[in-house]
């Protein structure tokens, strides 16, 4: 076992001291000279024709510099299915449709101008339920597709159909079968920093977008495409992130407000900032994708799963963003959570006049796992097997090849389930039905990248200056998870310096190589592997310099000693020890021969070598710079939606003990054990932070959070009415870090950003069932739902 100096240690976040001193600059704080403030005017109807827009009063307001409507910008479609324009021209299809935009010298004036824009609508019938929207006579949300061809249905043409093995055979082989319908709804990501950006064109028409995105290169790609369509072909784009106030999936697409900021900047020839206020963040930010699942599973008499059949209906809202792609991730738990030989999964996305959705931490996995883990519990009961034992029987194992062709390499699921069993006191607490109970759920998630684009690459560039300080130009972005510290630890370990010697830049396309995006919990894995490779090259350069420099350094030292002490006789040294780079190494800022690590003369500070190599005095001056672009040997999903899209997978199990107040339906979480297979914890304290944060969001998902949408309108757009948890809502979480050491992960590490959230809600639902015998299949599990179910239970008995 290698003794690491920094990897595995809880190095503090000293590198981010700006955040605790109020110095960190978020988009909110960023100002550009001459900057204007943009504000978007939204539709007042869920579905309507725009008959007339009168912007004259807004234009006359002093301080207003531009007013744009759909007629003022090219009618170019954006979005992953190209189903919306930047400003809506003739028809609005949801309440948060952008109908006009204003740029003014202050946010207050911009807001006032928005209120002065008069829009006349002709209301159209709307459809607010995906099942209604699928019916033949439902009003069409879109009449034509991106190419202008007429549409006959609200069902999106997306290929979410997965099939492996023979489900019919599986049904026949099943001794026990269960069917469940589960529902999940919209929840808001609730980043504390709201959405916003600053768009600025230079005199030559090149764009700099100050952003908060997770996907700086994705932005460049999408904006380039937009530019090509609006007559700006060939103009350059630089995306530069400010400090980001949280993302949780909100910043994976190029949002309409960003295109609007670009249009306003184009019009005014000034930098334009658009910043959402909190109400806008609740009303206009695409939230987590809701889904309704019909899930059927069966097992044999020994409890081994024989099949899993799932159909899902997704309320897509009026347009498409990444919400419509969540089925591609849902496929992973559907096909690969637990060993199940025969699988069918089909997801239908349906246009409605509700709000559309994007990614949120877990990206479809929390929704799908709620379905799978509800069904696992009901099936365990049907089979007369303890639910935890049932999971154990069907657990994934190292070396598995799943129906989706995912290659399971390292897998700590067994240990995770074991941890839950022991630490929760499962055997003692289970089955009492006395108002207290335990439940559990597991997870699988990608943890070694995720090939969702043709390249899953991640680049890193490293330079080492003459003082031994390292600059790392990272291609990923930082949302606050701790990447600067974690990556500085890995670089320090790989190169032989200390974390405090490392400076990093993130999120700048002008500097960085390329990265597919900081998503899918891939950052540590990808950046770490890229860093190790780059550091290997940089180290080689330094060691080659050392071979040249050390003899001179040593001899220079002897000369100085001789001058002081004429009696001094230089010792006979074996210069063979340092004659080749392969004979040397670097550790804790010191270069030394491997065969004599404590050599009195050949062990020299790294900066001696670097300075010596730079300040040569001849034409042989050298610097240290290296880059690496790491794209793991994984596969794209094929036509059957199968393929090993990640290099490794994360596993985990969450167990929950709850108390249910049978008079009020209120659920109290007494204890939570969250066991996660993380490969290796590069920084245990930071890793715990990911588990705790994700667990809390999972509890909110399970018990309290929902965006209430009525006829397309968000009814609770404030923190007062949107029930995100506070510090008083105690969830006693015990996090267990399981480290099976992944062979492909940097220092054995796998991703952990999303997994913490995934099994939480179903574990709670399962615990409630154990406590009081009622099963709630719809999130969030509010006291009303529990109490109503308890009343039904009492009536039935």
């Amino acid at each position: 076992m290698t003794e690491y100096l920094f990897v595995g240690k809880s190095v503090p976040r000293t590198i981010e001291a700006d955040k605790v001193t109020g110095r960190a600059v978020y988009i909110d704080d960023l100002k550009r000279p001459g900057m204007l403030y943009g504000k978007i005017c939204y539709s007042r109807y869920a579905h309507a024709r725009i008959k007339r827009i009168d912007t004259s009063r807004a234009e006359k307001l002093p301080g207003v510099r531009a007013v744009l409507t759909g007629r003022d910008v090219p009618d170019v479609r954006v979005g992953f299915l190209k189903d919306q324009t930047v400003l809506k021209r003739d028809v609005v299809r949801q309440f948060r449709d952008e109908v006009a935009a204003v740029a003014a010298i202050s946010p207050e004036i911009a807001a006032e101008a928005c209120d002065l824009i008069e829009v006349e609508y002709e209301e159209l019938p709307g459809v607010f339920d995906p099942f209604e929207a699928m019916k033949a006579d439902a009003p069409l949300v879109h009449e034509v597709d991106a190419r202008g061809r007429p549409l006959k249905s609200n069902i999106l043409p997306l290929p979410w159909k997965f099939s492996a093995g023979d489900v019919e055979q599986g049904r026949k082989a099943a001794a026990f079968t269960v069917k469940d319908t589960v529902r999940t709804t919209w929840v808001n990501q609730c980043c504390m920093g709201t959405s916003g950006c600053i768009a600025e064109f230079d005199v030559n028409g090149n764009l700099t977008l100050y952003s908060q995105t997770n996907v700086i290169f994705g932005h460049v790609g999408r904006i380039t495409e937009y530019f090509n369509a609006i007559g700006l072909k060939g103009k350059k784009i630089r995306v530069v992130n400010a400090t980001v106030g949280g993302s949780f999936g909100t910043k994976l697409d190029t949002d309409i407000y960003e295109f609007i900021a670009i249009q306003l900047a184009l019009k005014t020839r000034k930098p334009v900032k658009i910043l959402f206020d909190r109400e806008e963040e609740f009303r206009a930010l695409p939230p987590r994708q809701p889904a309704v699942f019909d899930i059927e599973q069966g097992c044999d008499a020994e409890g081994r799963l024989t099949f899993r059949h799932v159909t899902a209906v997704l309320d897509n809202g009026a347009y498409t963003s990444w919400g419509a792609t969540t089925p591609s991730v849902m496929m992973m738990p559907m096909s690969s959570l637990y060993r199940v030989p025969n699988v069918f999964f089909q997801a239908t996305c349906v246009y409605t006049n509700n709000i559309y959705c994007q990614a949120m931490r877990g990206y479809g996995n929390p929704q799908a796992t709620f379905a799978v883990e509800t069904s696992m519990d009901t099936l365990a009961e049907a089979a007369g097997i303890d639910p935890l034992e049932f999971r154990r029987i069907n657990r994934n194992r190292p070396g598995d090849l799943t129906p989706m062709r995912l290659k399971i390499t390292s897998c700590g699921l067994e240990e995770c389930i074991q941890s839950v069993e022991e630490r929760l006191g499962w055997k003692e607490k289970r089955g009492k039905r006395n108002g207290r109970g335990v439940g559990m759920a597991s997870l699988i998630h990608v943890a070694g990248g995720a090939r969702v684009t043709r390249s899953d690459g991640h680049g890193i560039m490293i330079k080492v200056n003459e003082f031994g300080q390292v600059d790392v130009i990272e291609s990923g972005t930082d949302q606050g998870q701790g990447s600067p510290t974690v990556i500085s630890q890995m670089v320090a370990e790989a190169l032989g310096v200390r974390p405090e010697d490392v400076s990093l830049t993130f999120g700048d396309t002008g500097l960085a190589l390329w990265d597919a995006g900081t998503h899918a919990s891939r950052h540590t894995f990808m950046a770490g592997n890229a860093a190790i490779r780059a550091c290997r090259k940089a180290k080689q350069q330094i060691l080659e310099m050392a071979v040249e420099q050390i003899p001179g350094i040593v001899k220079g030292g002897f000369k100085r000693k001789k001058r002081k002490d004429p009696e001094f006789v230089p010792p006979d040294l074996d210069y063979g020890l340092i004659s080749d780079p392969d004979k040397l190494d670097i550790r804790d800022r010191m270069v030394f021969p491997k065969e004599a690590p404590d050599h009195p003369y050949f062990r020299v500070p790294i900066h001696f070598v670097l300075r010596g190599a730079l300040h040569v005095g001849t034409g042989q001056s050298k610097v240290v710079a290296a880059e690496a672009f790491y794209d793991p040997p994984t596969e794209m999903l094929d036509r059957e939606l199968k393929g090993n899209l990640s290099q490794t997978y994360a596993f985990g199990a969450t167990g929950v003990e709850v108390a249910v107040d049978e008079k009020t339906g209120e659920v109290t979480i007494l204890r939570m054990v969250a066991a996660h297979d993380v490969g290796k914890a590069i920084n245990p304290t930071l890793l715990l932070g990911q588990i705790y944060g994700a667990a809390y969001t999972g509890v909110g998902y399970g018990l309290t959070e929902e965006i209430k949408v009525k006829n397309g309108r968000v009814m609770n757009p404030t923190f007062r009415d949107y029930q995100m948890l506070t510090a008083m809502d105690v969830v006693p979480v015990e996090a267990v870090i399981v480290e099976p050491d992944d062979a492909d992960g940097p220092f054995g590490a796998k991703g952990v950003g999303e997994p913490g959230l995934v099994p939480t809600a179903p574990a709670i639902a399962n615990a409630i069932y154990d406590a009081v015998g009622v099963r709630i299949r719809e999130l969030p599990i509010t006291p009303e739902k529990v109490l109503a179910a308890l009343r039904d239970r009492d009536r039935a008995s």
Binding site: D29, R278, T685, G689, Y692, T697, A727
Partner: protein
């Protein structure tokens, strides 16, 4: 719009702000004094990201009319570190125990923690949670924040 001239103490310095009368303390701090540590997370006193101390009490500066701060003493996150830049124990503890992730809630959270520790030097876990109940955080789940505040309380007690 009328302008108002308000004189008060800001992070130990006597200052005067000349700002529109309708400004709140948050906007005054951010736009007039360029102290952007306090953030607008909601603008209606529901998230705590704008928390600063007025006469030692934690308040939501987004709801504090600027004309009410006349003669008072305001402390913001920027005024917490020592003259020599030494971090306050709460700031240090947040860095050591991962109490800060994205950092957006952090300025307000630390000011609430400071107010708590000034009033209750050895708070129980429940008292800590109550003291920061008005500060939302989405990243941390509050666990390491509560631990950090406890660590800081113990450090302050040792030093004092």
């Amino acid at each position: 719009m009328k302008k108002v001239s308000v004189s008060f103490t800001l992070n130990g310095d006597a200052v005067t702000a000349e700002v529109p009368v309708t400004w709140n303390l948050l906007k005054t701090l951010r736009d007039y004094f360029e102290l952007t540590g306090a953030k607008e997370g909601c603008g209606v006193g529901e998230c705590g990201a704008c928390t600063v101390l007025v006469d030692g009490e934690a308040v939501n500066s987004c709801l504090y009319p600027v004309f009410e701060v006349e003669g008072k003493s305001v402390t913001t996150i920027e005024g917490l570190a020592g003259e020599d830049g030494a971090l306050h124990p709460v700031q240090q503890a947040f860095l050591e125990n991962n109490g800060v992730q994205c950092g957006f809630c952090t300025s307000g959270m630390i000011m609430s923690a400071k107010a708590l520790l000034d009033h209750t030097p050895s708070p129980s876990e429940e008292e800590i949670r109550e003291g920061i109940a008005g500060n939302f955080c989405r990243c941390t789940g509050y666990v390491q924040i509560v631990e950090a505040i406890d660590m800081a309380a113990k450090k302050i007690k040792q030093a004092g």
